[in-house]
Amino acid sequence: MQYCFTQAGAGLLLHQLRTRYAEDGSESVMAVCVRELRDHFTRYEAVLGKDIEQLFRQ
């Protein structure tokens, strides 16, 4: 089975941003997406470290 996050927000945020960027692929939308990702991964560094390690291993 593919590795899954238990932290609900990470995958859902990635999906939301991917959908938003697919609808409007402008540089300004990209900048907002990058900022939201950076905010999220900074906030949840303690939780997501193990998830990111597992994803890299796949």
């Binding site: 899954c4 996050f5 927000g9 859902l12 939301q16 905010d39 949840y44 303690a46 939780v47």
Partner: protein, 327 residues
């Protein structure tokens, strides 16, 4: 933990912010205070699931968190909910099942900016009468009165060195069947796009004898989200779901499961996690036969939809608080 009415009233009088679930009859006798509540027919206690009118399940929020406020949200104000969640903190929201506020939040929350970067959790409450009788109600503690058409939320701030994380345990995984997409967003559909072909979904379910006790599962970039099928009607060709399906999301029927109780037990965190809040879906409870299930630290409300940023189904949803790493 479960408590009798007078014990719960005493806890409210102490000023501790509380989450309460149980029967409408008991909650309507509680005093005003810093609490929010939701009705439910069942409680998952530390000794297993029970149906009771003598106890309330009470979750005190952590002492180090500071309550900002308790707020009500109607359909028109729901979009403000994510921005009201404290930047460093968390919010717990309860909404009554089957209402406009539940349906609107379930459908619209995934598009709210910032919904996934703050810690928003909670549950969709159900009817508290015998075998699902009565209307789902939330309770607004500051006035100690029930509400049937709004959500209530408690907003809490954490110290700078802590962070709240909302997590889900999903015992289902996508099966090996075909990819299923839907032409629109919503709780109902007539059509589905299956392996690129548009078909009547009710006909597809019927012909293939799909087990509608199994949810559809979508993989959102590593987070598995379920949508259960409530019923399908061959006469009207309408298929109704417990939660909304979304256009352009790929679903698959879940793999069959032999022993849900065992699967839940295996999926529970083994790292000593003690959640500050958790809830479990009513269908996991009823299908899993959890009356004698020891949930450890995971006792909590039985939900008719769990809120892990957005509404999810057939999961165990929990929130834990962690220390931020020191740099």
């Amino acid at each position: 933990m479960i408590h009798r009415l007078e014990e719960t009233a005493e806890m409210i009088r102490s000023g501790t912010p509380l989450l309460i679930s149980g029967s409408a009859e008991m909650m309507s006798r509680l005093p005003k205070g810093n609490w929010i509540g939701g009705t439910t027919p069942y409680l998952l206690t530390d000794k297993g699931g029970i149906s009771t009118k003598d106890y309330l399940l009470v979750t005190p929020l952590p002492a180090q968190a500071r309550m900002i406020c308790i707020q009500r949200y109607g359909v028109g104000g729901l979009h403000l909910l994510p921005q009201d969640v404290p930047g460093n903190g968390f919010s717990v929201v309860i909404m009554p099942a089957g209402t406009m506020v539940h349906q609107n939040f379930a459908k619209e929350a995934p598009s709210y900016p910032g919904i996934y970067t703050k810690a928003l959790t909670g549950w969709v409450c159900g009817p508290s009468g015998g075998r699902f009788g009565g209307r789902p109600q939330v309770f607004y503690g500051p006035a100690a009165h029930p509400i049937e058409d709004e959500a209530v939320a408690i907003h809490m701030e954490l110290p700078d060195d802590e962070v709240a994380s909302v997590e889900i345990i999903n015992v289902y995984e996508p099966g090996t069947g075909p990819s299923i997409k839907f032409p629109g967003d919503g709780f109902t559909t007539t059509h589905a796009i299956i392996d690129g072909q548009t078909v009547l979904f009710s006909e597809y379910i019927d012909k293939r004898k799909e087990d509608v006790g199994l949810p559809l599962v979508a993989n959102y970039c590593g987070t598995l989200i379920n949508v259960g099928i409530l019923h399908y009607d061959m006469a009207t060709a309408q298929v109704t779901f417990y939660g909304p399906v979304f256009r352009n999301v790929e679903y698959r029927f879940a793999k069959p499961m032999d022993d849900m109780k065992e699967r839940i037990r295996a999926a529970m965190p083994k790292d000593g996690t003690v959640p500050v809040f958790n809830c479990i879906c009513v269908s996991n409870y009823t299908n899993g036969g959890l009356e004698d299930f020891d949930p450890g630290a995971f006792s909590g409300p039985i939900a008719f939809g769990e809120i892990a940023h957005q509404v999810v189904n057939q999961t165990i949803t929990y929130m834990r608080i962690l220390k931020k790493p020191t740099i």
